[in-house]
């Protein structure tokens, strides 16, 4: 059985952000793209991650992009932050996935799709300057948290899910009274993200007042949309979250039009 103690122990075991990555983040916060790119260039792991993710087919670049200045230059500050926050998650990524039929490569494909499609949405909504927009890259931490927390009790949970239609989030909530968004927000706090970002994560998960912000509605739709794509169904992640499925028709149809725009 999972408990609050299991969660606390897990969050405590999460490593701090490496200094070099922190410096890169601060440079981006300050709006200095070139300096941030140069710092990123110093960290081989970060450089490899950036090269790998931006050359995913979804971004549609004809030629391979290798240079960090080029990467940050093309993507701009907001998306560069998203890329960097996405890199944070590599620090806690499991080496081997047991609960889900997932992998580091699939995880990065998922991150790339989120960044790309979120870019289309915020552009369409005219919200691409919002400070909290890049923080969506932290949300996929939920998948990692689930993999780590459920690994030990996976065989029993699988039997439970064969018997009753229960999302992983519902099981977690029934066992601990916490949602994946609560745990993601704990991770964000541990990594010194601002309170606005912590609140944003909680609101995406359904905390009070979430529906007042249009970006949150669209982001939830994006998350629901991405969780229902073939890769996620094949990996057993389709019914991961426990979102309400009812949305305003006009908003849902508009969302789908944006996503399907070439």
């Amino acid at each position: 059985m999972l408990s609050q103690t299991t969660i606390n122990d897990y969050v405590a075991s999460i490593p701090a952000i490496p200094k070099i990555v922190k410096r890169c983040s601060e440079a981006l916060e300050a709006g200095d793209l070139l300096y941030a790119a140069d710092i990123a260039n110093e960290d081989r792991a970060l450089l490899y991650y950036l090269q790998n993710i931006v050359n995913k087919p979804i971004f549609g670049f004809k030629n391979e992009i290798k240079n960090t200045r080029q990467i940050f230059g093309i993507f701009g500050i907001s998306k560069a932050k998203q890329l960097l926050y996405g890199y944070y998650l590599l620090l806690i990524l499991p080496k081997k996935w047991d609960v889900f039929d997932f992998s580091t490569n699939k995880f990065q494909n998922f991150q790339a799709r989120l960044i790309f499609n979120w870019g289309k949405i915020v552009k369409s909504l005219g919200k691409d300057n919002s400070e909290i927009i890049p923080s969506i890259s932290i949300i996929p931490a939920s998948l990692i948290v689930c993999e780590m927390l459920f690994a030990d009790i996976n065989s029993t949970v699988k039997l439970l899910r064969q018997t009753k239609q229960l999302s992983y989030e519902k099981i977690l909530f029934k066992m601990t009274g916490r949602t994946f968004f609560d745990i993601s927000s704990m991770i964000a706090q541990k990594w010194d993200f601002s309170q606005d970002i912590v609140d944003f994560i909680l609101k995406v998960g359904g905390a009070d007042g979430a529906d007042e912000v249009i970006e949150i509605t669209y982001f939830r739709l994006l998350l629901i949309y991405e969780m229902s794509r073939p890769m996620m169904i094949q990996s057993g992640l389709n019914d991961f979250f426990d979102f309400e499925s009812e949305f305003d028709d006009e908003v849902t149809n508009h969302f789908y039009e944006i996503i399907k725009e070439v």
């Binding site: 065989s155 064969q162 066992m175 794509r229 073939p230 169904i233 499925s245």
Partner: protein
């Protein structure tokens, strides 16, 4: 995506956006094969968690299920939607709608599947716009033993709906021609046959389900033949063989609704020679109080009670360990073993106990009984219960919990090269019922302590 299967009905519950891109992954060719092997009564797609769907997505999904229907006669369609989604599906298919639609999964199970216990007590109201559909829906419910209220008009519907437990207002019956269909009524298994009964019955009949029912202890198996136009020697031979094989378990095979228009005298005599009881109609059968009493009294477990064997005792540690681990993971409580004894089942009749049994067969045969104190049962099954739950929900959760434990035991034994299958779980509302089911039977009784409350595991043959 694998469906959740209960009472011979499989429900797929996709989430999010349902379109042409992901529909082939929601019901994949492997899932289609799986459904065909399961010989289900019904297979439905729940739209409860679907945010958006388009025609391509819906068409792709239903085409997969129609392949299952064409091969196995499974009733297929969609369920768990609101009026808006219902109208969207109707408008997408207009004159080509050839599958079923049910307001909710619970309503689908009124029409399909084997569980129709307490049929007459269920408060059902039917009001759909098409009077043809309204009549069909009502007729089908009557046939399965329900007594629905049929609203005459909208005002009548609005006035009566508040008292109803099941509100049928956006349902549509597509093809319902599966034969044989099966359901459980009054502790009897009822197979409904239609049309011509010939050698095809052997291919369509779910032998695994039948054997499970025998193992669990059903004593009365009824073939409702009121809609049979003709039965030939191949069809009757199949049923005669079931009767002969069932004799070992002390079961009765009954055929109702046969007459000189649908069966020859010779075939009828042959069936009677094989021990098949023939009644003119279902009504006549249910009026036979003696037979129905026998069905009730002996319905709990298999008749041959023997003492637990050394072979069974040898797997007792695995059974206790698997059960305890599952209980601990799902309830959050630690379970401690108090005692293990070979004896008759001993329970405190006044302790407010809930119990369930599950049979297993294969390399080893036996029955495992779980008995919980009610207060700890509520805590232990909380993961399977909604906030507001009834006594019936609690018993259902106990059944589900027992099923999970049964599967866990099967998994663990499989690792030791012991292959077993499990039956469906059976729940008991009273201690007397479970004690009666184990009369004269000795088994291994393990008494455990969960958070200061008692849990009993009883393993017998």
């Amino acid at each position: 995506m694998r469906p959740i299967i209960k009472q011979k009905v499989g429900i797929f519950s996709p989430l999010g956006f349902l379109d042409g891109e992901n529909a082939p992954d929601i019901i994949s060719p492997l899932d289609v094969d799986f459904l065909m092997n399961q010989k289900l009564e019904g297979a439905f797609i729940s739209l409860k968690s679907v945010t958006f769907f388009n025609k391509r997505g819906i068409s792709t999904l239903i085409e997969s299920l129609i392949r299952v229907r064409d091969k196995c006669g499974t009733i297929v369609g969609f369920c768990d939607y609101d009026k808006k989604k219902y109208n969207m599906i109707l408008s997408m298919f207009l004159d080509t709608l050839n599958f079923s639609l049910f307001d909710t999964a619970a309503i689908a199970k009124l029409f399909v599947g084997d569980d129709i216990k307490n049929a007459k007590d269920k408060k059902i109201i039917v009001y759909v716009e098409s009077s043809e559909q309204k009549n069909q829906l009502a007729m089908e419910l009557y046939e399965r033993g329900f007594v629905p209220v049929i609203a005459k008009d909208e005002s009548n519907f609005l006035a009566k709906r508040k008292d109803a437990e099941f509100i049928i207002e956006s349902s549509y019956l597509g093809k319902l021609d599966k034969t044989p269909r099966v359901f459980i009524k009054d502790n009897s298994i009822i197979y409904t046959l239609k049309g011509f009964v010939d050698s095809e019955i052997a291919k369509q009949f779910d032998m695994i389900y039948h054997n499970n029912s025998l193992n669990v202890g059903f004593k009365l198996f009824i073939f409702d033949c009121e809609d049979v136009s003709s039965i030939n020697i191949h069809g009757s031979n199949f049923i005669a063989k079931l009767s002969t094989a069932g004799a070992e378990y002390g079961v009765s095979i009954v055929m109702c609704g046969l007459n000189n228009r649908n069966i020859t005298q010779k075939i009828s005599n042959d069936l009677e020679d094989a021990g098949v009881l023939i009644y003119p109609s279902m009504k006549n059968l249910f009026e036979d109080k003696e037979l129905m009493k026998a069905a009730h009294e002996n319905s709990s477990v298999i008749q041959k009670h023997n003492s637990v064997t050394k072979k069974l005792i040898s797997i007792l540690p695995t059974i206790i360990k698997s059960s305890v681990k599952t209980i601990e993971v799902l309830s959050g409580y630690n379970a401690k073993k108090k005692s293990v004894k070979v004896q008759e089942l001993v329970l405190d009749k006044n302790a407010g106990l809930l119990s369930a049994s599950i049979g297993f067969y294969g390399d080893m045969n036996g029955i495992l009984i779980l008995v919980f104190e009610k207060s700890i049962a509520k805590e232990t099954f909380k993961i399977l219960l909604e906030e507001d739950y009834s006594e019936e929900d609690l018993l259902e959760a106990l059944g589900e919990f027992t099923h999970i434990i049964g599967k866990k035991i099967a998994q663990q034994l499989h690792k030791k090269d012991i292959k077993i299958d499990i039956t469906m779980p059976r729940t008991f509302q009273s201690v007397e019922d479970v004690m009666f089911s184990q009369s004269n039977s000795r088994g291994a009784q393990a008494d455990l302590d969960i958070n200061g409350k008692d849990l009993t595991l009883f393993l017998s043959r």
